[in-house]
């Protein structure tokens, strides 16, 4: 129990903020969210690339300025040592001593360092008082602090060993060059700091631009996700990549809208077209249950209801088949075959039905018509076209089924002498459940041409409906997707 004079322990949720929290000013998940942000990543990439570019440029400039000074100094020392070595070989110790003395006497720049000592490190010639302690290795560069007239300076020296135990030190006073190098290095480093600062600032600008550009798409997507399908991404008019992206998204939204309209239309069509046979079946069954006088009447009513329900099942099967065809899963069944016997078989099948109605069915096909695809589906599609043609042809009419090779594929044409399809309905004739005004009284589900169109699309082909004046000409164009086996079709 906490009394008035007792201090309560601090609550867990009110702990002191961590350093990162204080830096970012946000909660613990904020850093992770920042890292996940694409705008932050783009900005970071921009900053890193800019900083790396600045660093590479500074490195190059440093190499070409301060580095050049160092290389020049080293080259001068090597050349100097080479000359002294030649003098040593020509005249021995006296010549070397004389040369060192001459070079020092003519060293107007006052930057030369020489020291010649014997094996006991006793000074023989040169301008250093004694052999420096740290200079022990040959062919190594040393930075040596020296004092000239009371002023501290820096020398770059190299040691050379001579025959007889003599040692030679050759170097240059690099104080001025070192100062220049340091100035250059300072300038480069500060330039780098400025580049880093500019990169950071630029990264923030890039992030802001990125977020502003994406905000348009994000808002539109959010509105669509909320159900407002009429929203579209606004174009800036600049025609840049973001405008191209916006156009692509808008095209996608248009297509999605059309597909959803199609789904809605099909749903409505299913509900509308199936309600009638289901209601009819129900009414028949109810009527039979209430009024059937005998078992025979009851059985007949049930059989009629079964026939109605079979029609509904057939509609669903046709829908499922179209969906299966559109999914493209049947492509694995594609094979090369001869289309001529297929046309003949279908023509023969429908000739019998047509004959009962006084309609003549003629098949026009070459002896062999090589094709490639799903034989069963193509046969189904031709049957559907022929079924429609026979159904809508007047008594005494003629239906022609013809097949021909064309370019890289085959053309199947089914022509009738029926009423045809009005021009304003031609474009919709391939839609599911579409039935023209003149076809309402004719039996059918409105799925026949939709299936033919699906088969055509599956094979990469097209279905075209032309006014044959009189009648309708349905043209199914199927391209040859693969070359045929030389052994012959159907093998």
């Amino acid at each position: 129990m906490t009394g008035p004079g007792v201090k309560a322990a601090p609550e867990m949720g009110r702990q002191r903020p961590t350093l990162w929290r204080r830096l970012t000013g946000r909660g613990s998940d904020r850093p992770l969210r920042l890292l996940r942000s694409a705008s932050i990543r783009f900005a970071a990439v921009y900053a890193v690339l800019l900083a790396l570019s600045g660093f590479a440029l500074a490195l190059f400039l440093w190499y070409e300025t301060a580095g050049l000074l160092d290389r020049q100094t080293e080259a001068a020392i090597r050349a100097d040592a080479q000359g002294l070595s030649e003098r040593w070989e020509e005249g021995g110790l006296p010549a070397l001593v004389m040369t060192i003395d001459d070079r020092l006497a003519q060293n107007v720049d006052d930057d030369a360092i020489y020291l010649l000592v014997d094996s006991q490190l006793r000074r023989i010639a040169g301008n250093l008082q004694r052999w420096p302690q740290g200079v022990t290795a040959t062919n190594a560069w040393y930075e040596l602090p020296v004092q000239r007239a009371g002023i501290r300076s820096l020398a770059r020296v190299q040691r050379f060993d001579l025959l007889g135990g003599f040692h030679l030190l050759v170097g240059r006073d690099v104080r001025v060059r070192a100062q220049l190098r340091n100035l250059l290095t300072d300038a480069m480093l500060w330039a780098l700091v400025i580049v880093v600062a500019m990169a950071s600032g630029g990264a923030l600008v890039v992030r802001g631009l990125f977020r502003r550009t994406l905000a348009n798409i994000s808002h539109t997507s959010a509105a669509i996700a909320a159900g407002d399908l009429g929203q579209r991404v606004k174009l800036s008019g600049r025609g840049d990549e973001f405008d191209q992206l916006a156009e692509t998204i808008n095209d996608m939204l248009e297509r999605i809208g059309r597909l959803m309209d199609g789904v809605r239309q099909v749903s409505n069509a299913i509900a509308h077209d199936l309600r009638t046979p289901i209601t009819r079946a129900r009414t028949r069954l109810e009527d039979a249950a209430l009024h059937a006088g005998s078992e025979a009447e009851l059985r007949a009513a049930i059989e009629r209801a079964i026939a109605d329900l079979d029609g509904i099942v057939a509609v669903f099967q046709a829908l499922l088949r179209i969906t299966e065809i559109e999914a493209g899963s049947r492509r694995s069944a594609f094979t090369a075959f001869d289309l001529a016997p297929v046309l003949a078989d279908v023509g023969e099948l429908y000739a019998a039905v047509a004959e009962e109605r006084g309609i003549q069915v003629a098949v026009e096909s070459p002896p062999q018509l090589p094709a490639y695809g799903d034989r069963e589906l193509i046969q189904q599609a031709i049957a559907n076209l022929l079924d429609n043609a026979v159904k809508f042809s007047p008594r005494g009419g003629r239906v022609t089924v013809s097949g021909a090779a064309s370019g890289g594929g085959v053309i199947i044409r089914v022509r009738d002498q029926g009423p045809g399809i009005p021009p304003d309905e031609l474009s919709r004739a391939g839609e599911r459940f579409f039935r023209g005004e003149d076809a309402r009284s004719t039996p059918g589900s409105g799925l026949g041409l939709a299936l033919v169109q699906a088969v055509a699309h599956l094979h990469g082909g097209t279905l075209r409906l032309d006014d044959a004046a009189p009648g309708l000409a349905a043209v199914l164009l199927l391209p040859m997707a693969q070359p045929l086996d030389p052994a012959g079709p159907g093998t």
């Binding site: 003519q106 006052d110 301008n127 602090p145 880093v196």
Partner: protein, 100 residues
């Protein structure tokens, strides 16, 4: 100031602190400092003596006399390095190979 601006400022400050010392001149306090002997009055005198020796064999041009006199005067007045520079120029002229 938002979080990004604060983080950027800290990064900039860190860069300055980290990179600043790299631009400083190198200082090596461990190695003993070696004395250069060609900046001393003794060396000035040595150069004058050598010039006199050379002048005995060959009469000096006017420039050499002027430079050696000026160098001697400067060395006498404590301007050792400037005096040595003039004497070295005089020596350069005297030791330069003569054109035939």
């Amino acid at each position: 100031m938002n979080a990004m601006a604060r983080a950027a400022s800290l990064a900039l400050l860190g860069s300055c602190v980290a990179l600043g010392p790299l631009g400083m001149p190198l200082v090596n306090g461990q190695t003993p400092i070696e004395q250069v002997t060609t900046d001393t009055p003794e060396y000035c005198l040595h150069l004058l003596q050598r010039l006199r020796q050379i002048e005995q064999n060959r009469p000096p041009p006017k420039d050499v006399s002027y430079l050696s006199d000026e160098g001697k005067l400067m060395c006498d007045h404590g301007q050792i390095r400037a005096g040595i520079t003039r004497l070295r120029r005089a020596m350069q002229i005297m030791l330069a190979p003569t054109e035939k």
